[in-house]
Point group: C2
Chain length 239, copies 2
DNA sequence: CGGGACGTTGACGGTCGTCAAAATTAGTGG
DNA sequence: CCACTAATTTTGACGACCGTCAACGTCCCG
């Protein structure tokens, strides 16, 4: 485990507007920065935390890309999300004081460690932080509603189109291209997230490429017709 | 809308151990009871809140049974959960100050209205309440992980078996039978929740009945072989 | 008693999973 | 730097599971 106790200043962090509430006073900002004690580097392929680990902290992603997945004793495995800079990991651990999923870095990453008892302590003093924490958890609940809709009622093409659009939209919000992206995950991981087999993911990519919607070169992706993809997502099968 | 301003005493409520943290002092309990200002009755079939409604409060179910569902502009509809006494509704509304799903009573119900600004205010004073709120939200996130696993990787039989086992387990925790239950929802609603069509739900019930696992009489259900159902959930398709 | 909502069952077809093989890339160690 | 192996991706053929469509049965409530 790679820990750095070098103090990180949220006030200078370029993830600030993603991580923190807006309009904090200087004194509030100083209080909030006490929450972030250390940062931690996670190498590609390494776990940030395992299923079963004791829960002590939430993690804000500074750089890098993660997946979270749950698994059952009988070997089933489900990717529950992909997280990028400015997003928070570890919310699942609060209920039972231990984590119930794995968080794995899909590229070399760095996170801010935010001990949860400190978060609770400071958010009693700084109302904006308190509300911010509530919003982050609520946002995760709403996101998962969307995934349930996707898994419960969409066909393979719709799922993949929705997935791609969501991914570029989030990357674009972080200053990346609207049309070009590099997939940090395998076809199998995409499939697990979308409730599809990797062959179906691959085939569906190929079909999108044939239709001129995207250009696929392994993990490099260029979106040629975003409206086309949006049309796929919003079109009911028939009648 | 049916509002009652009659003060409800959480300290006497039989949902207390489901709703509230344990070990509150008398003064803490008095503070927490300030959160519950009114109760509200919701008739069967009526909405507790609609998608798009402004968010003002969370709701603790005193009696009755609810479903929540999200819907898209193109008419898709997904049941995201079924909720019973002691569970909390409305968490989805916190992020954007308006609700993003519908909450509908499946039988006549009564809820405690807990204005969210009061929750935030009191939970700054009562640490146990603060942590309790965090746990409730985290529990919902973990529950949804489970649903994603179900929707993403289980077959129809497994989904329905897992659904039934979860339902009786929750009912049992509320003092009902371990083996007998009345379904408050239609086959279509079950199907929507499980990502299946109503015909598949019906057929799968019939298959369970043929195998002697359950006795199905419309919405009345008796579980004859719970271990058999558990075996279905935990058995990978083959190899 | 009658109508409408809900549930059951059957036949058929489509979507996606399974199995297999080949192609391409990435990673490793000499 | 290159050879070699492992991992990932693509593509095809086939089949299973579940969705679709349709008809019929059952229950509930006015």
């Amino acid at each position: 485990m790679n820990l750095q106790t070098i103090k990180v200043a949220c006030s200078n962090c370029n993830m600030r507007e993603l991580c923190l509430p807006l309009g904090l006073s200087d004194s509030e900002m100083a209080a909030v920065e006490k929450v972030v004690s250390v940062t931690r580097k996670v190498a590609r392929g390494a776990h940030l935390f395992h299923n079963g680990d004791p829960f002590t902290a939430l993690y804000a992603i500074r750089t890098g890309f993660f997946k979270t997945s749950v698994n059952t004793e009988d070997g089933r495995d489900q990717v529950t999300g992909f997280q990028m800079a400015g997003e928070v990991l570890g919310l699942d651990g609060i209920v039972n004081d231990h984590h119930t999923c794995d968080a794995i870095a899909l590229e070399d990453a760095e996170v801010c460690v935010m001990p949860f008892n400190l978060i609770e302590e400071i958010s009693r003093e700084v109302n904006a932080l308190q509300h911010h924490v509530h919003k982050i958890m609520s946002r995760e609940i709403v996101r998962e509603h969307g995934v349930m809709l996707l898994l419960g009622s969409m066909r393979a093409e719709e799922r993949l189109a929705a997935f791609l659009l969501n991914l570029v939209q989030r990357l674009h919000a972080r200053g990346f291209s609207q049309s070009e992206l590099v997939l940090r995950m395998t076809r199998e991981e995409i499939g697990s997230y979308l409730g599809l087999k990797l062959e179906t993911v691959s085939r569906t990519f190929s079909r999108f490429a044939d239709d001129g919607m995207v250009e696929v070169k392994q993990r490099h992706l260029r979106i040629l017709n975003a409206d086309g993809l949006r049309g796929i997502v919003n079109s009911r099968p028939c009648h």
